[in-house]
Symmetry: C2
């Protein structure tokens, strides 16, 4: 990630005191205007001559100080251009171009002598801007009571939104006009105790919108480091969003000292939804990798002892005997097993065998360590030690068995959101992973935060997630953090953050089900900041077949599940279903075995948030291509070309598609698999069922291999 293939940095500096200034993106499509009106600072954005953001205020309320929101004069303005190409350790593309025009406006508040700088970076796909507080005696240590940044919309746009919340993003998306958010808020909050909206018009980022004129607008943030997570609160009379920062335990938002900078506030905009998916702006606004040697960071495809607990077939806990467990004191060796503990040695070895047989890199095991008897909902401080296995989990035996089979064990650190406890044990827990050869950890932050009263998305806890990532890097450990704050591109800087959950994942399909079009929204929202450990690959949609007491239904077809391996980009991909289900549908399972997890090129063929998207990706190294299409609630014909393939070459494509009568609700396991010959000139018209989709694997073929195959 630190090798720049191509670097051009043209810095042209100007300095003046005009009170309005414009900046164009490199291709001229985006136009930023900064202006001062009666001492207030405003910015606005146009795309191809159309207004996207109307003049919107900038500034802050500072605790025990005058506002830093008016009385400004512009004391300096600098413009520059930047163009580089960098190579991520893993990603949707082998190289990423970072090309923008920049304007830095220095604002001085004469009445207080305080200075604030707003740095705008205008890319062809949108705008990023942040505030910078230079070192100054009159603003040394300070507390932001409120960030006043506005995003003034031009109308009552359509939005895909989830309720603003300080602790969870695990919501289904609601599609509505901005004016309808207030009325739909109550319904948007599902029966999950962790969901607690802060306002009737508060929503989370990334927020994907669409205007009546067909503009796609996305609001998010980049490089959330040492700051509070930004939500958006809507003035639904004027369609103005204002930043709403997550408070800490004492109600305050952000503690800073100068020099300081905020995260970038980002606005991605295009008249083509595919450009939203293709944007790398969020990564580009983050710093280059701070990890020198990244050779140990490697994408992984994995299975796990997990879905059986999620569905309620087995348990994380070993025993039902103890009303309360005291780590280091409670004696599990004499406890009566509950008979349904998933993380037992035999079951784990069965999964290792399965992984080895089918070429998976790793096996995740949850519930291996003591403490699951009372881990949830008890505000328990010393809840896990991350070291001590249950009596039926033979840690060394499993470690050696996995090694003998060429499979890597993936560690699991559920913290129960007891953050101090995790930090106290972190060094030892990471050392333990090193000692036993675990390359990656799935960490979890389920439940209310300890220190009590704090929130998952406050500055204090954001700093914890960052601490966990940086400390893991010291130990050469990859992190896949669940229930942590949604990512903002920091994996560019810390590429050992290989995935996050931080949205409503597949588990909710066993908790009552998610919307069938959920996966057509996530790539426009959650995925912009970094990969999601969505844990796809569910083949058995009737959860009651796994656990008679669980009547959940997975709102998806098998073809849709396969497509997710392409559409939900992640360097960490799970095949989440039970091994026996894969053995039952071994022909469909072949796609999961074949699909790559690291990419040279990605092509966004079709896209409409909430309705469909089709992506083609070229695997790194092998020359193979994989295509995924996911579809919303309505049956739809997807039409794509294959001009991404090398001209003149012949390929064999295996198409895994919904059967004609497939449907997420009543016929999800109806799929067809066919092999066809394709070239760069081929076209495909393929129907996708409601909640369905298709997946295609494509590899170059000799003439002999194409014999008898139909040409597309």
């Amino acid at each position: 990630m630190r090798r720049y293939l191509f670097l051009t940095a043209l810095a042209v500096f100007f300095s003046w005191t005009l009170i309005a200034q414009t900046l164009l993106s490199p291709n001229g499509n985006q136009k930023l205007t900064f202006e001062l009106q009666n001492g207030k600072a405003l910015y606005s954005l146009e795309y191809k001559g159309k207004s996207v953001i109307k003049p919107s205020l900038l500034g802050f309320e500072i605790k025990n100080q005058p506002s830093l929101a008016d009385g400004f004069s512009v004391t300096k303005t600098e413009q520059s251009t930047f163009d580089e190409t960098w190579e991520p350790v893993w990603g949707e593309e082998k190289t990423i171009r970072n090309h923008y025009n920049e304007m830095a406006v220095t604002l001085t508040q004469a009445s207080t002598g305080r200075v604030l700088l707003v740095r705008f970076r205008l890319f062809d796909e949108g705008l990023g801007f942040r505030y910078e507080f230079p070192s100054q005696a009159k603003l040394a240590h300070f507390v932001i009571s409120d960030e006043l940044t506005q995003f003034a919309m031009t109308g009552d746009h359509k939005a895909f939104w989830i309720a603003g919340d300080y602790d969870t993003q695990e919501y289904d998306y609601t599609e509505s006009r901005l004016s309808e958010i207030r009325g739909l808020m109550e319904k948007a909050v599902t029966a999950n105790l962790a969901q607690l909206p802060f306002s009737n018009t508060g929503v989370q980022t990334s927020l994907q919108m669409k205007t009546d004129e067909g503009l796609y607008i996305n609001l998010h943030e980049a490089a959330l480091i040492n700051y509070s997570t930004m939500h958006l609160n809507l003035d639904d009379k004027n369609f103005i969003f204002q930043s709403w920062l997550t408070p800490g335990a004492n109600g305050e938002k952000v503690y800073l000292q100068t020099p300081a900078k905020t995260p970038w506030r980002t606005i991605i905009v295009s008249d083509d939804a595919r450009d939203i998916l293709a944007s790398r702006m969020t990564y580009n606004l983050n710093d280059p990798s701070k990890i020198e040697d990244t050779s140990w960071i490697k994408p992984m495809k994995y299975v796990g002892v997990w879905w059986e607990m999620i569905t309620g077939k087995s348990s994380w806990a070993y025993t039902d005997e103890f009303p309360a467990v005291e780590i280091g004191v409670t004696d599990f060796s004499k406890a009566k097993p509950n008979g349904k503990h998933g993380a037992n040695t035999a079951n784990v070895k069965r999964h290792i065998d399965f992984a080895a047989k089918h070429g998976f890199d790793g096996v995740l095991v949850e519930g291996w360590n003591v403490g699951w008897e009372d881990w949830f909902g008890n505000s328990k401080d010393f809840v896990f030690d991350f070291l001590t296995p249950y009596p039926d989990f033979d840690l060394e035996g499993i470690r050696d068995y996995a090694k003998s089979k060429g499979v890597q064990m993936i560690m699991h650190h559920e913290t129960s959101s007891s953050v101090r406890n995790y930090e106290r044990h972190m060094d030892r827990a990471y050392q333990f992973m090193n000692e036993h050869g675990y390359p990656a950890v799935k960490s979890g932050y389920v439940g209310s935060i300890l220190p009590r009263g704090d929130n998952h998305y406050s500055q204090w806890i954001v700093n914890h997630y960052q601490y966990a990532i940086e400390k893991a890097a010291e130990y050469k450990i990859m992190v896949n953090a669940h229930e942590a704050v949604r990512p903002t591109g920091i994996a560019r800087t810390w590429p050992n953050l290989i995935a996050n959950e931080s949205a409503r994942g597949t588990e909710y399909q066993a908790f009552g089900g998610s919307k069938a079009n959920h996966v057509t929204v996530l790539p426009f929202t959650r995925q912009l900041g970094g990969p999601m450990d969505y844990t796809p690959g569910i083949f058995e949609m009737d959860i009651s077949k796994i656990n008679p007491n669980n009547n959940s239904w997975v709102n998806s077809t098998i073809a849709n599940q396969l497509a997710l391996y392409v559409t939900m980009y992640s360097p960490l991909q799970m095949a989440a279903d039970l091994p026996e289900h894969y053995e039952r549908f071994s022909d469909a399972f072949q796609f999961i075995k074949d699909v790559a997890i690291d990419w040279e090129i990605s092509k966004y063929l079709e896209a409409e948030p909430g309705y469909y998207l089709t992506i083609a990706r070229k695997a790194k190294g092998t020359g193979e291509w994989f295509v995924g299409n996911v579809n919303g609630y309505e049956k739809r014909n997807s039409t794509i070309g294959f001009d991404f393939l090398e001209a003149g070459k012949t390929y064999v494509a295996t198409i895994y598609a919904d059967a004609a009568d497939a449907h997420f609700r009543n016929n999800p396991q109806a799929y067809t698999i066919r092999k066809v010959v394709v070239t760069s000139k081929s076209k495909l018209s393929q129907a996708s069922a409601p909640g369905g989709g298709y997946a295609i694997s494509i590899r170059e073929a000799s003439k002999e291999e194409t014999k008898g195959l139909k040409k597309l």
Copy 2:
């Protein structure tokens, strides 16, 4: 501490369901009555037939559950006797007898099925009792909203009190009737931003009272582990105190899981004030040492680079250049020094020389590490790294120089109450101490707690102090924690906690001055739970002579300062004044050089809280005795005998006393030193000035040494 010299444990068990039961102390002076009245549990205490505690309620409010305060029946009662003698690692005596009668009452609340046990231990000097919550399905994890323990006084006693406060005990004591507390509260709070009373009748423990009948009653707690610090709130119509627990950031008091136990609530009572000082009940109610090898725990007498900063002559900070410091980023090597940095190499070496010359064990240096420029009042998270010295502090050079002089360096870890930051750096900081040979650390918790919103005395932060002590023990490090919670005898269990501040120390004599009788109260209050690093030994009372901008006056005479080395017991004793002041009064300084810091026997000769106390102690090993007398506001004649000396032996006593016209306010440096011959039959009548006192060193002498000396 783990060797029991003598151990008798007679356990006699009874079981019945009577609703009132009494227990006598081993000598029969104390009588506890436990009774049930309409399902409510009450206890009361008598001393020599006089009521001390009237029937007082027991119980709890539990969050989201019915009260655990009524509807009780007694389902089991057990009585037993315990008698052991144990040997502390350091202390006021070589051996401590732990002798009590015990009654454990099991209470069952029929309406909920919950069970609560109250364990009473009745010593000859008072009562300790605690609540125990046995493991039970109906009370597994729970939150104490309020502890309802009452201490119903028999009248409007006199009390020595400091205001209830969640964050500091650094108050002067107020002497008043209980009924006067409300009216005096405002005045009791000095101009110190950290002082914030929670109630107009709230006071802290340990609380020393005296009845009109001449009974001395002390309320405190023992073994404060994983619980919130108890204050007392007074119903001043009925003179009933109720426990007032310190809340955490979210307002809740205590999070527990069963089995659990509270700290002991203690009532020490006697008709002789000396018995309060002689009580070891607080230690006895704590568990035996958990440190196996205690050979590395050694009392220390030390000097330091400290008083010069406290008085404002020099500074902790190295430079005045930076409005804000970023640890690891700010470059101090190029900063302009402020010219008054105390912790510079030359000054430290001067102190090492002084320590070596006069036989001190150690040198404390504050302000050695970067971060002091903006450490206070900024709610700064990453405020210190505990590793990086300022450019003018040659860590290795100083370390080697000290070693060559046979002096040990004492580490200083000011945390600025940024507790998470300290825990993140603690392992490395302790390792660093091991690497450089620092045997002890003075830690500090000045300012508001981080995590923000929490309090110094909440369960969460109490757990931090404990974590720091136990982690230090792993590294064989002694801890002297300042601004931490006041001690409750846990040094029995963790004898590496060699001292605390946790009260108004000598530093306040340079912050405007403390009351002249302050040191006649502390041994009855603060000192009951463990030694105080009071930092005595101030010889120059006019602080403006050190710093012309500081008009503070030390309200004490030199003789009083010397006596503190005896009366304020601590295994860690500082000679706090500047070396030049000791050189000026080298004859008085001799006592500080001579006085022991670890004791075989202590004899409490005279005592009246707020007025005077006289203590004689025999040094461990040498056979020398030292006597200290401190006096309150009125000039007083102290009359003591020397029958603690071995009969038939002749000793030389050096008496350091106030001159006839000495006075803490206008003539503090007037003292006399005389040598006399004493035997076990000698008597001394010695005047002590207002705010004065005397100190005596006594050693066995040959006949030749006694020649020409007057016999007392």
